[in-house]
């Protein structure tokens, strides 16, 4: 049965039951007219005419039904049919035709029919306004007016409609010429076609990628304009929104080329809405597309991301077993790419973990190229060390110090295994990053640094980094010949580079010191003569010190060299030089040190600021032999100088930052220096106050505290927490990210269970100020109030300490590095 018959039947049936009374029929007709449902209104009007009670009073209602139907036909571009209906109405029902307004006739004329109304456009104000309103609100197609056979070429409506169409055609053909340029003149702001003009301009901007301009034009189109639906479609295209119906979809597809981005966006939308089935359907369709040839990486990446994206949905929607099963089903369609099997296995079995088992399986299953094998072995080595660190952290939560010895053994084992993996890696394909990882790991785990650097140099002979590192290693190990041969290699690849040239005088110093230790005084002096007079200041002082020592040892006249040494100044640097002679070359320099010591003491009394400044510069010296890498002076003279208020703030900060290490906290002389530095720093109340307070908190930490200091455990804990809380508050208030990070980082070295964040919330400005005042007044353990110390020295056995630690402990213990680089904090033989 044809559709229209069904509709008509339905209308008839709908009104048949009400045939006894006219009221329901009239009400339904009225409602249809108000809803602009012309087809239904006309059917009901015909029923009304056949009703026995139909009379003249119903004619206006029937006329309204015809008007609505005629308007509907014009809106659907059925101009000819509308014209025929109007003519038939005039013949068959003249009384109804007489009741019609101008509108039906006008619509016929606007649709191309002949008539007198359009001729009066511009002359009859009322009629003109009516036509303008119709064009603005109802004219969905300007073509009938532009091609109207009964309008002259100069008729304003025809001119405007033609201008719109011509400009639009130019836009659609991508060849803007005169018509588009003339559009603003042809269609002014008061023209009923102005909305069409704006739409054409928006379209041109959209086609050429000027989306902002297009949106601005679309915004100016009124909501009741006939072109508004098109404007909305265009707006959705610009916003990359999906089409809302089939017809719009056709237009959308015509303008926007199908893209991977669009398809993935659609999948994202489904995933965001929790529509797993819809997303899976789209995804299946997408992976079946013949677009992935040569794009295996992208395919793998997208599939992996999709699996990660659906994982939460699966978890939510299914039980764990069901989720895995569903994932298995989804993955069936991806198995045409063999390499992806690994990713799938990773996802299913190890929750996409990047773990060693995955890579070992990959090596066994897949035949990888050498480069890939090298990278996998590199990754395996890193994972080996990472896993060991994780295991140790887990263990550390369970036990305290008992496992420390085992920690080191396990750490060393992991380091050795990692080194073997790196050796495998470079056999397949040497990569710089592999050597960087390998070298860094040997430094951390006391591995075979020399082997790693030699392998690096063999693979990349022109790399300066391994040559510099190996030269430093040989110098530190007192193998000058090897160091010299490395330096020659360095010169061959990087002569003139600053770091290479800086090494030259240091090697001379090494050589002179070695010869001096062997009693070859003349040769040592020759080496020192080779050092350029414009060498850095520390080297000049060290050189003068060595000359003076040579003169003393050779038995000659040392007056000139002593005078030169004294005039060089910086007695602390001379002290460092003599200390290195003692520690590195095993020389007995007690006589020289006695003199140097006296000069240091003199300077400490006369110019403590200069002494601390020298110390700070020494702490910043980067060298394998002559720096403060292994020992640093911290005797009473130095500590007293560090407490002096005239010392420069920058020197205090540099010194504290350069020398502090958590492993030094158990050494009383080192702690004395840190008490002095933090106390002096806190008196400045400068931007570094949060950091000084954080360092101070660590000094109160009772667990690593030196044995001759006897803290009250609970009171010291409280002081640690308070200092950290104030430090955090000040750091946050300062807005310096550097301070926040420093305090956070230092708080991780704390051994006792504290919760500074909770305490920070209770702090007031007044409390913070009083804490700073209190701590600034403390420059040594002796200044600490007695209530923080145990009144009677109780011998606490190691087991008691562990028990107490276990009771108190709430947070994991940070890993403690082996005290390999700790200072010989108390150097009684030198002071």
């Amino acid at each position: 049965m044809p559709n229209h018959q069904v509709k008509r039947g339905t209308a008839t049936e709908a009104t048949a039951g009400a045939s006894d009374s006219l009221v329901p029929l009239l009400a339904e007709l009225q409602a249809s007219i108000e809803q602009a449902r012309g087809h239904k209104a006309l059917g009901l009007a015909k029923l009304l005419r056949k009703h026995p009670e139909y009379g003249p009073k119903h004619v206006p209602l029937v006329a309204r039904a015809y008007e609505v139907r005629l308007a509907e036909m014009h809106a659907a571009a059925q101009h000819k049919a509308a014209q025929d209906l109007l003519q038939m109405l005039g013949v068959q029902q003249p009384e109804v035709a007489a009741q019609l307004s101008n509108r039906p006739a006008l619509l016929v004329e606007l649709g191309g029919g002949p008539g007198r109304l359009l001729a009066r456009y511009g002359q009859d104000a009322g009629l003109t306004e009516e036509i303008d309103i119709w064009i603005r609100r109802d004219c969905r197609d300007p073509r009938p007016l532009a091609h109207h056979p009964h309008l002259t070429e100069t008729h304003p409506l025809k001119v405007a409609a033609t201008a719109i169409l011509n400009a639009w055609e130019e836009v659609e053909h991508g060849a803007i010429a005169g018509a588009y340029a003339r559009l603003p003149d042809a269609v002014g702001r008061r023209s009923p076609f102005v909305a069409w003009r704006l739409f054409v301009q928006a379209l041109q901007a959209a086609y050429t990628g000027r989306d902002t301009e297009a949106s601005a034009c679309l915004d100016r189109i009124d909501a009741d304009c006939a072109v508004r639906p098109l404007a909305e479609i265009l707006r959705r295209i610009l916003a990359c929104e999906p089409p809302r119906n089939t017809r719009e979809g056709i237009l959308h597809a015509k303008i926007v080329a199908p893209s991977l981005h669009g398809a993935l966006s659609q999948i994202d939308r489904h995933l965001a809405a929790g529509q797993l089935a819809e997303s899976r359907s789209l995804f299946d369709e997408l992976v079946r597309q013949p677009i992935w040839a040569g794009q295996e990486q992208l395919f793998g990446e997208i599939v992996a991301r999709y699996l990660l994206a659906i994982a939460p949905l699966l978890d939510r929607m299914c039980a764990a077993h069901g989720a895995r099963k569903t994932a298995h089903e989804i993955i069936q369609s991806f198995q045409r790419i063999p390499r992806f099997a690994l990713s799938i296995a990773k996802f299913l079995c190890w929750d996409n973990a990047d773990c060693a088992e995955d890579w070992e399986a990959a090596i066994r299953v897949d035949k990888m190229p050498p480069l890939a094998m090298a990278m996998i072995y590199d990754r395996l080595a890193t994972l080996r060390l990472t896993r060991e660190a994780d295991d140790l952290d887990d263990d550390a939560c369970d036990d305290a110090f008992e496992i420390r010895g085992d920690d080191r053994d396990a750490d060393a084992d992991a380091g050795r295994q990692a080194e073997e993996l790196w050796q495998q890696s470079v056999k397949f394909h040497p990569l710089r990053e592999t050597f960087v990882h390998w070298h860094a790991a040997t430094q951390r785990h006391q591995g075979d640094e020399e082997a790693a650097l030699n392998a690096w140099i063999i693979a990349f002979p022109e790399d300066v980094t391994p040559l510099l590192a190996l030269t430093a290693l040989y110098r530190a190990n007192r193998t000058p010949q090897k160091a010299l041969s490395m330096f020659k290699l360095l010169e061959s690849v990087a002569r003139g580079q600053p770091e290479v040239e800086a090494l030259r005088p240091l090697l001379r110093l090494d050589s002179a010191a070695g010869r001096l230790a062997r009693g070859m005084h003349a040769s040592a002096v020759k080496d020192l003569d080779e050092i350029a007079p414009n060498a850095p200041e520390f080297i000049r002082v060290a050189c003068a010190t060595l000359r003076w020592t040579c003169a003393l040892r050779s038995g000659g006249d040392a007056t000139a060299s002593r005078a030169a040494w004294e005039s060089a100044g910086h007695p602390l640097w001379a002290f460092q030089t003599e200390s290195v002679l003692a520690s590195q070359w095993r020389m007995d320099v007690s006589a020289e040190l006695a003199e140097v010591d006296a000069r240091v003491a003199t300077q400490a009394r006369a110019a403590p600021a200069q002494l601390v400044a020298d110390y700070a510069r020494l702490a910043a010296l980067p060298d394998a032999v002559w720096s403060l890498k292994r020992r640093f002076p911290c005797g009473a003279v130095i500590v007293a100088a560090c407490r002096d208020r005239t010392v420069d703030s920058a020197a205090i900060w540099d010194l504290l930052r350069g020398l502090f290490h958590p492993s030094h906290l158990s050494k009383s002389t080192a702690c004395a220096l840190f008490w002095a530095l933090t106390g002096n720093g806190l008196t400045r109340r400068d931007a570094r106050t949060p950091e000084y307070l954080a360092y101070r908190a660590l000094l109160y930490d009772p667990l690593p505290m030196p044995p001759d200091e006897n803290p009250d455990f609970d009171a010291a804990n409280d002081r640690v927490e308070e200092c950290l809380a104030v430090a955090q508050r000040l750091a946050h208030a300062s807005g310096r990210m550097e301070a926040v990070q420093a305090v956070e980082s230092l708080s991780h070295h704390c051994h006792v269970p504290v919760n500074p964040k909770r305490r920070e919330a209770r702090l007031t400005d007044k409390t913070c100020a009083s804490v700073i005042d209190r701590e600034a007044a403390i420059g040594a353990w002796a200044d600490v109030p007695p209530r923080l110390k145990e009144t009677t020295r109780q011998h606490r056995g190691i087991e008691d300490t562990f028990d107490m630690f276990r009771r108190k402990r709430r947070t994991p213990r940070p890993r403690v590095s082996p005290p390999s680089t700790g200072p010989d904090a108390n150097q009684p033989e030198l002071w």
Binding site: R140, K254, L308
Partner: protein
């Protein structure tokens, strides 16, 4: 981050020279003072695939920053607006005669 091969417009079987050529072409197209975001994307893409080890790393370990919940569409570039096709007057008007 976008898939670097699509950003630079080179195939996955590319060479160092082709990547560099594509990179230079792109940064000429998108100067930093005019298109800072696009310039940034091109530079990031270049860093990811400029050498063979880097490309192998990408193949083995995937794109950096992959995490659950990251939109899939972030992986590929949006269609360029200036590449929109033209529908024609008739199709537009036909759609307007039967508005949604």
């Amino acid at each position: 981050m976008l898939f670097p091969y699509l950003t630079l417009g080179v195939p996955e079987t590319t060479t160092d020279e082709d990547v560099r050529r594509a990179y230079l072409l792109k940064i000429r197209m998108y100067p930093p003072e005019q298109n800072p975001d696009e310039f940034q994307r091109v530079c990031e893409a270049y860093e990811l695939i400029k050498t063979e080890p880097a490309r192998t790393r990408l193949r083995l370990f995937g794109m950096p920053g992959m995490k659950p919940g990251a939109p899939l569409a972030d992986l590929v570039p949006k269609p360029v607006a200036s590449e929109r096709r033209r529908a024609g007057v008739a199709l537009w008007i036909e759609t307007n005669m039967n508005p949604p």
